[in-house]
Symmetry: none
Subunit: 401 residues, 2 copies
């Protein structure tokens, strides 16, 4: 029996409210052994007060030693085993730029590349053509026409763009056309199962027309396709938890991930303060709120320890606005660690706290990596956090008599 | 390979004795954040001394956030994954009132209900008819006769009673007849697979005769049936652990659960002191003893913090009588938490300690929830406790060369 079979059969309704605050990449590392992490360095009186009222622990995003991307990191927090539910590369890229995938769509990551007179690739990234030159070329490809197929083309950045094919009978099992080498031509899109042969034909036709449209270009005169994938089949929050869920996020990737599990995207907030306005404005209409805060991750990715500390302090300052709403369960966590020392996502457990009247307090005096090690939640896989949230919200019945 | 495949292949015999003391619903919560739990409040010098000698931790009954009933709670402690082994509702109800199920029996939970002149249900619980009126009616139903089928009927409480069908060719996959609504007639017992069609016929015949026997009653003039289920197929303690196991319990439910895994039920103790007498009297005849103490759960269910504290102190006072017997391994745990603050079973980890000469002591100075967080057992799933017990008893060989 998997976790969702359990929650599906046990969930009950009540008037509780659950807030999950996700500070992206929250976990960190000391710059020197024995030093303080970004979170431990930051002055966080509000989070520390929550740690005294609640229960702390370390959330393991996927499993020990695995550094997740944003997709698996958030799926784990949402209670979807990131090793069971996989979002295809094309679908994740489309989601990340705000394309709302429908059932039956196939999304593809595309790269502009350069080919020579014989059709062999000379540069797999078209000289990393700048976005201001590549975006109009991607838009030009919207001229491609294939009968009975709707085609969405969106620029991403530099040589990267996304194509979505929409029509009847499309499946995502098509092999990449990028040969991962120069001096050879792009590969043909080959179906990996019979149900995907129509997609392969459509991709072939798209490439032919695109090459004509790009023929005169010096660098971006061809393209390769990778990560063909459909909309991932994720059961919804409503179905597995019985929750009306809302996402309060600023960036398309996180809105997209929330949409994939059936959350409504509410508000058009640009700042954390505006996110708090949106949270308050929608308070009566939902049971569960996912609020995403980006800057703890982006400063970590930049390797800027001090900036990450400052962004954590901004986040802490917003906490009272959440507590004013008097949530039944408040969770503070991250989708993974992004230590400034590493300038990258990491596998380290993410300091996490859960506050509810039914918490068994654990003596933690502050919110930080070192305290979390001694917290009552211990170290746990992120995928269990939603079940704990439902339990503390009084939304799960007893298992067995 | 599941845990039982491992223990089955590795267990060896010796003269060790394992005692598992289960204080039902042991785990608790502070009434206010930062306060003490019931166990932390209680004066428990004997348990505290054990905590200094042994190793402590938090037992997770099923998985994070899941509150178990007594069935899954005890299966976990006995080392049977409660998500893999499920005891049907009828079988658990029968077990709980002391009916010893045999292979091939089908047990059913029944409710008296009230129907009107047209056969539609007007009250699904027959006005919650008091037990002194309902019990004789249940006993009257023992007059039902069906060829080649033995029928057991036992009153439970108010509108509830249990029926067991015993005969050849009976399986438990029959749908409930309770329509979960009034103004409609009871449903027919419908087999959910072909092997259960005989059971459905027998149930139909039982209902016909029962309605005639109840025809003159004002309230309890009909019945509904739910939770058809056979004896669960649980491998025995003898087979999976090589243990001769005895249960020293007062209440039928816990005797029944122990019987399902092949323990012998010893003694007729009514008090904890009598349970200790029974333990001593049977010491030489068994390798493993399960001793069940009920009152930590019942006081928790009553929401009576102080009474639970007092019952924990009574339990502590009995510990020296166990230690006199010089067990090789002593375990103190609970099947789940029942915080007085919640007046219900909960999902919180259960403070657990294991004492044996082979313990790696962990610096815990007392037995309580907060200490257990820092204990050497960490937080672990209850289903692993039996393997640890066998290991500390020297009853498991090496895995692999």
């Amino acid at each position: 029996m998997d976790m969702h079979d359990l929650t599906r059969s046990l969930h009950v309704k009540n008037d509780s409210k659950i807030v999950m605050l996700v500070a992206d990449g929250l976990g960190g590392l000391p710059l020197e052994p024995g030093g303080l992490t970004e979170l431990e360095t930051a002055n966080t009186p509000n989070l520390d007060a929550l740690a005294r009222r609640g229960v702390s622990g370390g959330s393991i995003p996927v499993t020990l030693g695995i550094s997740p991307g944003s997709g698996p990191g958030h799926l784990g927090l949402f209670g979807y085993d990131p090793l069971k539910y996989v979002i295809g590369r094309g679908a994740l890229e489309a989601t990340g730029i705000g394309i709302e995938l429908a059932e039956g769509d196939v999304a593809v990551r595309c790269n502009f590349c350069t080919i020579d007179g014989e059709g062999n690739i000379t540069d797999r990234r078209a000289g990393r053509i700048p976005t201001d030159q590549s975006a109009p070329l991607a838009e030009r490809l919207r001229q491609v026409q294939i009968p009975e197929i709707e085609i969405v083309v969106e620029p991403v950045k530099e040589h990267r763009f996304v194509v979505v094919f929409r029509g009847v009978g499309l499946e995502g099992e098509v092999a990449d056309t990028d040969p991962q080498a120069t001096g050879v031509p792009p590969l043909e899109p080959v179906p990996r199962d019979p149900d995907s042969s129509r997609t392969a034909e459509v991709a072939h036709e798209f490439i032919q027309q695109a090459r004509q449209l790009l023929a005169g270009e010096a660098r971006a005169n061809c393209l390769t396709m990778r990560g063909f994938s459909g909309k991932p089949a994720l059961p919804s929050y409503k179905e597995v938890y019985g929750l009306r869920a809302a996402a309060v996020a600023v960036y398309p990737m996180y809105k997209g991930l929330a949409r994939l599990v059936g959350m409504d995207i509410v508000g058009g907030a640009k700042t954390l303060d505006e996110q708090m306005d949106v949270l308050a404005a929608n308070w009566n209409d939902y049971d569960f709120f996912f609020l995403h805060y980006k800057y703890t991750d982006s400063t970590g990715e930049d390797g800027n320890f001090d900036a990450k500390v400052a962004r954590i302090e901004d986040f802490d300052a917003a906490i009272p606005r959440v507590l004013e709403l008097n949530p039944t369960v408040t969770i503070v966590t991250g989708d993974h660690s992004t230590p400034a020392k590493m300038s990258a996502h990491s596998w380290h457990p993410v300091p996490t706290l859960l506050v509810a009247d039914s918490c068994r307090t654990d003596g933690c005096e502050a919110f930080g990596e070192r305290d979390a090690v001694h917290g009552g939640l211990g170290q746990f896989k992120a995928k269990h956090l939603m079940t704990l949230a439902l339990a503390h919200a009084g939304r799960l019945g007893k298992y067995g008599a």
